[in-house]
Amino acid sequence: MIHFERYILKNGLTLLFHKDTTTPLAVVNTLFDVGARDESEEKTGFAHLFEHLMFGGSVNIPDFDAPLQMAGGESNAFTSNDITNYYDVLPKTNIETALWLESDRMLSLAFTDKSLEVQRNVVIEEFKQRYLNQPYGDVWLELRPLAYTKHPYKWATIGKEIKHIEEAKMEDVKAFFKKHYCPANAILCIAGNFEFEEIKALVEKWYGDIPAGIKPARILDAEPIQEEYREKTIERAVPTDAFYYAFKMPERRNELYYIADLLSDALGRDKSARLYVSLKKEQQLTAEIGAYITGSMDDGLLIISGKLNEGVSFEQLDSALWKELESFKQAEISEAELKRMMNKLRTSREFEEQGLLNRAMNLCHFELLGDANGINEEHQIYEAIQPSHIQETAMHILKKTNCSLLKVKAISNDK
């Protein structure tokens, strides 16, 4: 059980507090309800570029990191297609430094031209390092627009192309801040050995006078129900053929989301999963194979991906994979198989909840879903899942008309 308290400031900022008496550290986690899905198609990669700019100084404080380091702390952030999350970890005795810094950048940024210019370059290098200069690095840049035709999940968090980042202008940056970085669009979680009243007072002191702003309405293009099988082959200078089967699955708040999560575990979480045992160990078709879900807020993807063994064709893999998926749909999984997955889930959860930062991040995440207490209720949803539910969901999700396949065909690098 993860205990927490909630307090909502007049300007709409949600504060969550989690008490842990065993640690000398404090965590300040701030989730902004904005991600790459909130970008326009002509200016992608912006939510993430903006995350970088949040470290370039705020309205009253020229440098974000140095004062936090001076307080013995450190900070980082990440952006996804759904959210942008910032966190600070520091000695609890210096918590006020983190609140001072975080509240000032929620109030307003410095918006210097130098910061924009440099971070544009840094993000372009990040684009190259992670997506262009790695074998298979650009797979998600190709797979997203294949699987999504309308919804903004069709572009990656890093952006559709480097050009969009190169073209980012200061006026865009300011407009983005004004629209998305207001207290009503944020969830703040503070974790550590404090009293709730003490935290409330500190948060009122530093955040209370930030103007409220209006939580932006989110109206996104809905993804139409997929009704046809899609397939695309790209040729790349990689050593081995690779495959990515992407099946549409329900959104995060849907009960079926949890069933689809277990379905992906049954297919390909570990070395006792169906596809690993059948396609790798028994039939020797793949060198790697696994299954997982993207975990996104709106309609997500269940991915089955892997790499072919030498001498194996995409066609051989395809027919063996569909045969395996069909037989999975024919019969319920055994109680023992379900229990195995539940035991794995339980171990993962216990380890995850060990970390103070994880607890703070997850509380914010569940609050965004509707109620931070979801963190304590999620396991009950999983435990209620029966083999028949997984079979029904498999029949619904694992069909050709719900599938987009990306094949990466290996070609020689020689000119």
């Binding site: 065993t22 006020e96 370059n121 006078d209 050593p239 216990e350």
Partner: protein, 418 residues
């Protein structure tokens, strides 16, 4: 309205509690280290073996490590994995130069049952031909993928030139995978696992009886006498470029052989290392990322082996920024050798390092890892109190002195790939 331009008052970290694990004898030389103060159901078991990559033919140590759960004469690898997964356990294994490590993450209630499956699997591994062939194929594929990465290409060449030694500096080629023989694997396994256990680490709220069971189950693998490592390496100061067509980034490695925690300069050098490249506000990050935007990240580190250590700068930069980046790295070395670090910057690094130390001591898992960072050098946890003392009293003059002593550009091994 509050005045937001004023920094809140800071409190200094004056004391950190370092908690020592309990020590049990497995044999006269092999110990079990246990940390029982775990407030939840999680647990971790680490088994250390004298089965690192410096032993045996090239590739052998790594192959045996990867085949530990590959099946016995009575159980297939699928069955073993299924049994472990059914207990909700996570298994990890890895090899470094001087060690092999097997770790289990599980709920405490399942740990002993998992260990008994693991014990049978490791003790009776049969090195079945089809499992070995499968691994050889997987390895070849991974190797070819690695060779497409500039970071991997740079790392390989760097390892050769850094260690500059027939064993420590050797690197595998694809053809090495062809020559794996099952009898060699079996012999290595028998010599270095079944008689190669050097250390056991247990974290979790276990009773003394449960700890005794772990000792009973692992005891027959214990080494009679712990291994010693005598080799000392000297890097070859040189500049090498590994060509990779069409790469949009170049990987850079700059480094030299240095020392480990046994050296009296080690702690102070860590402070210098932090200033130069080991935190977000470091000289290199500030210059090469935050001022010039040449890279997504650049960092430095000191890596340690039992009797030696090395210093390393690593980054990946835009292909047209290779020479400019090397120039800036050299510039930052020189600046530390010729200018005194300002009191402000030094104070920031001191506070940051103390904060990081506080974080590294937070909770039983972190505390055990701190202990494991000193134990191989026969140093106790008092080392960390020395760290606090050294951080508090270091001066700009001392930083400059160490930069002059160790950051000599002509002593560096430089590798670029792209």
């Amino acid at each position: 309205m509050i005045n937001r331009t004023l920094t809140p008052e800071l409190n200094e970290i004056d004391q950190i509690d370092f908690i020592k694990p309990s020590i049990f004898d497995i044999s006269s030389s092999v110990k079990l280290y246990s940390m029982c103060e775990v407030p939840n159901q999680t647990s971790r078991l680490d088994l250390y073996f004298n089965a690192g990559t410096i032993l045996g033919d090239i590739g052998t140590a790594s192959f045996v490590n990867s085949l530990l759960l590959s099946g016995t004469n009575t159980k297939t690898s699928i069955e073993i994995n299924n049994e472990m997964d059914s207990l909700g356990a996570f298994f990890e294994s890895s090899v470094s130069n001087e060690n092999a490590l097997v770790s289990i993450y599980a709920l405490k209630e399942n740990m002993l049952a998992v260990l008994s499956i693991l014990k049978d699997a490791i003790e009776n591994v049969a090195f079945l031909e089809h499992e070995v062939i499968e691994l050889v194929n997987d390895r070849k594929q991974k190797f070819r993928i690695g060779m497409e990465k500039v970071s991997y290409l740079a790392q390989r060449s760097f390892q050769q030139k850094l260690f500059n030694h027939p064993i420590y500096g050797r690197i595998a080629e694809e053809s090495d995978f062809e020559n794996v023989s099952i009898s060699t694997l079996k012999r290595f396994h028998k010599d270095n696992y079944l008689h190669g256990l050097t250390k056991v680490v247990l974290i979790g709220a276990f009773s003394t009886d449960e700890i005794d069971e772990v000792i009973d189950m692992t005891g027959n693998w214990a080494m009679d006498a712990l291994p010693t490592f005598d080799e000392k390496c000297q890097n070859e100061p040189s500049k090498t470029h590994v060509n990779k067509e069409q790469a949009v980034q170049t990987a850079i490695r700059v480094g030299r052989m240095l020392f480990n925690k046994k050296d009296p300069d080690f702690i102070d050098f860590q402070i210098l290392n932090t200033i130069l490249g080991d935190y977000f506000g470091s000289r290199l990050m500030t210059n090469i990322r935050e001022d010039k935007g040449y890279t997504y990240g650049i960092g430095t580190m000191v890596a340690e082996l039992t009797e030696m250590g090395y210093f390393l700068v690593a980054t990946e930069v835009g292909s047209d920024k290779k020479d400019a980046t090397l120039h800036e790295i050299q510039f930052e070395f020189n600046r530390l050798q010729t200018e005194l670090v300002s009191e402000d910057e030094l104070q920031l690094v001191k506070n940051y390092m103390l904060g990081q130390l506080l974080k590294s001591a937070d909770g039983p898992y972190a505390m055990m890892d701190l202990f494991l960072h000193v134990e191989p050098f026969n140093i106790g946890l008092e080392y960390y109190n020395q760290c606090i003392e050294s951080i508090n009293k270091i001066t700009p003059e001392r930083i400059k002195e160490l930069a002059i002593k160790y950051l000599n550009w002509d002593k560096m091994t430089i590798v670029t790939a792209g």
